[in-house]
Subunit: 476 residues, 2 copies
């Protein structure tokens, strides 16, 4: 395709994107397709001839978009806000168009240095000190794996350069809670710790936050048994209920055992753009690494997961390679981001952050986050006040966890499997209607529903409409 | 930013991209900037006010593009072809614009199923049987790490669910060669094998390909010493010289020891679009996994690394998580790609492959690859015939490895450190001129220069110009 052909097609595509976004309210939130349906719209054999762009755009409209769950829809309250601010989309388009190769500083100095610039801007915007150095990973899953690999190697004086994890005598142990994201346990297993050495530390039963006394007790038990406490993954804003693990107390306990602390603030990092919320991660300055996903609530189009460490030297000693074909005269004077993570090659992801900060602006982003927090507080009040409804976890951020617990035939409040059937039933009715989407999740052994507020276009009126829909669905 | 603001800005950005691509020949290939220079063009503090789009576009032109090494330039012969076909760029733009969330089938059925479709198309296009199942990772580095994690867990009957790698008694050993990509050793170290258990198997001194007899000998020695041969990473098209490890023979040896075989065909996979080149990976059908990066020579904009396995059940048992908030009624009937790799969230990468195959078409891609192979053969002939020049590795694909070895003051041919100074000197002169870019690399203890042909716009005339530039630089 020539640049002139691209120009013509590109204009059409931009219009298509603008139209799709402008018309998103009219679409169902949950994609109304069955398993295999989208696949069936395409031929099983690869195309043998070329297609005109207009025809392909038609396919995008009729064979792709109907299969997309519309997480940019103002009635999307599922999983977590996965905003793709159109300012950040422009930055991502610039990245694709430039077609840069990020494998070393020399292969794209701007890719490296703009990433330095925006990571440092973002650091300042959440009030972290200049002892922190950042890079962009794809996701918090990868960031957590990197953190646990670094912790593993720090605790063993870089055993990867000798016999590896398999040569370790004293079992290395990782600590987190059952409310941490599933990727934490996955990362621990992939890093070779083994499920036997992943401790799910007790939580406060009301807040679902890690109990530092239980952490101390677990670490002391392991140490007494000849095992080595290696790392704690503390979550600020858990996926299920946005529980806030007490970072300061956790760091104190961890340090006394020489353990590494990784803070997973994938969702809640965005709240730290608001000074009045920074007390939620008090103590973070003494952690070893942290992760925050602007591709969630803040709205940088996926994928954009910020990963900060204090000890860059340690990180790069664990993750570095230095093949001759990548050596250059600038080595040692510039960061080589391939040595800050797993993949050697990287996209120019920094542009989407640059564009969003420059075009939307920090103040507008802050105002939007405060709007969402106020909407969550409003919804919490409605649920608390409604007969048969309960808020089942503290609303620390923009997520409201609810159950509708009606009175059963016996005159008693529903519980256990009867409650679960009821909850999954009304959730399903809301979701398949296409009018809104919420996510059911298990908390303390029973299903509940997470209402995650924070789509860019979600205003109070949408939250009011959702609350009405939920009440109708639960009592119909 | 509203859809209407996006529409206006998007049109300007598309024009900017088209102009930048159309005018690329006038730019230096290697970005003419010093370390820290791009960074210095930006303020150290985050922006406190919003910027008009035109102003930001101006920054893109004056503060970003000058810092980008132009790997889409027809005179780029460095590292490897990192094409970003404009058709695939359109697909990537669609992906960003749709703003889909790939964390489960339900969160975007089309994202999952179009990935199924295009991975299966690509499988057919390189002649693999339907026993292979594919997904898209970011890079070959990640694919290799996933492969080694799967191999580790297969060999230990999923020890991650018990004591982990650290509880393994008999050391697990990985085999590759010094010519494998640096990410192979990195993956082995991150997976916990330890450097002591990574064997660099001897290679054929002429072809730099793994010697299957040496592999057999190394595995037998390890087994006799109570260690467990676990995995071989065979490379089809090494980074340094595009050496071709003999996959069929390697698979035979590996199987006899129960070891897993991962084939890294990151670059060379694209050659398999040409039936006449498939003999180069003969035996691949019996391997366990393979990786091929369309984001290299084929030209899908980075990042797009295809990863195929034969045993999906094994892969997902190693990589899966199943938190309640991601469970749905379709579980078991659809792939959950989060269980095929490390990150939970993924972009809609399949669209860039779909667009490239539909708009450029397979025949045009094949014709371009054949053109590049012919250009490499032509250059090889020129170098072979030129006084003082030598081709220092077999030209199996589109990369020509050369040294200029002039007669020194003593009357003897240069070698050792004197040759290295000469090689690095003339390479540097070519590269800093901005007229072309080539990559120096160490082979058999001496620096040589890799001429990697395959940019979309590189025609014979560009290769001729390069050859002239190299001769001038080496003798000036």
């Amino acid at each position: 395709m020539t640049p002139e052909e691209f120009r013509v097609a590109g204009h059409e595509l931009i219009d298509w994107i603008a139209d799709a976004r402008a018309g998103i309210d009219a679409r169902p939130v949950l994609a109304p397709v069955e398993p295999g349906e989208v696949r069936g719209w395409f031929e099983a054999a690869p195309p043998t001839s070329v297609q005109a762009f207009d025809e392909l755009l038609g396919d995008l409209e009729t064979k792709v978009l109907p299969g997309v769950t519309q997480v940019q829809h103002p009635m999307h309250f599922g999983w977590f806000p996965s905003n793709a601010s159109l300012a950040s989309v422009l930055g991502d388009i610039a990245s694709s168009g430039i077609g840069s190769l990020g494998i070393s500083w020399e292969s794209s100095p701007a890719l490296t240095e703009v990433e330095q610039v925006v990571c440092d801007w973002m650091r300042q915007l959440v009030g972290l000190s200049d002892r922190w150095h950042g890079t962009i990973h794809d996701t918090a899953s990868t960031a957590c794996l990197v953190a646990l690999l670094v912790a593993r190697e720090r605790s063993t004086d870089l055993v990867q350069h000798r016999g590896g994890t398999q040569s370790v005598d004293s079992p290395l142990v990782v600590y987190t809670t059952v409310h941490a994201h599933s990727s934490v346990a996955k990362a621990a297993l992939l890093a070779g710790f083994g499920r036997d050495n992943v401790r799910m530390v007790d939580v406060d039963p009301r807040t679902h936050a890690m109990d530092p006394a239980a952490l101390e007790s677990a670490m002391a038990d392991d140490a007494a048994a000849g095992r080595t406490p290696v790392a704690v993954v503390a979550t600020v804003g858990t996926t299920g209920t946005t529980a806030i693990d007490p970072v300061a107390a956790i760091v104190t306990v961890a340090k006394s055992h020489g353990a590494y602390v990784h803070v997973d603030a994938a969702l809640a990092g965005s709240a730290m753009l608001l000074p009045e919320y920074r007390h939620l991660w008090s103590g973070v300055e003494e952690a070893d690494s942290l992760c925050w996903n602007p591709h969630k609530w803040m709205g940088t189009v996926l994928d954009c997961s910020l990963f900060y460490v204090r000890d860059v030297g340690l990180l790069t000693r664990v993750m570095s390679t230095d093949p001759s074909y990548l050596q250059s005269t600038v080595d040692g004077r510039v960061p080589q981001y391939r040595d800050w993570g797993i993949p050697m090659g990287r996209r120019f992801r920094a542009l989407k952050l640059l564009f969003q900060l420059r075009l939307d602006g920090v103040e507008a982003i802050q105002a939007r986050l405060r709007r969402d927090l106020a909407n969550a507080a409003w919804l919490e009040q409605q649920v608390e006040a409604a007969e048969g409804w309960e808020v089942c976890a503290p609303v620390s951020l923009q997520t409201v966890c609810v159950r509708h617990r009606p009175t059963g035939a016996s005159g008693a409040r529903l519980e256990g499997s009867a409650l679960d059937r009821h909850t999954l039933g009304w959730t399903r009715r809301v979701n398949v209607s296409g009018a809104a989407y919420v996510t059911a999740s298990i908390l303390d052994g029973e299903w509940m529903v997470r209402i995650s507020i924070g789509v860019e276009t979600t205003e109070r009126v949408h939250v009011e409409r959702l609350w009405s829909l939920l009440q109708d669905a639960a009592t119909s």
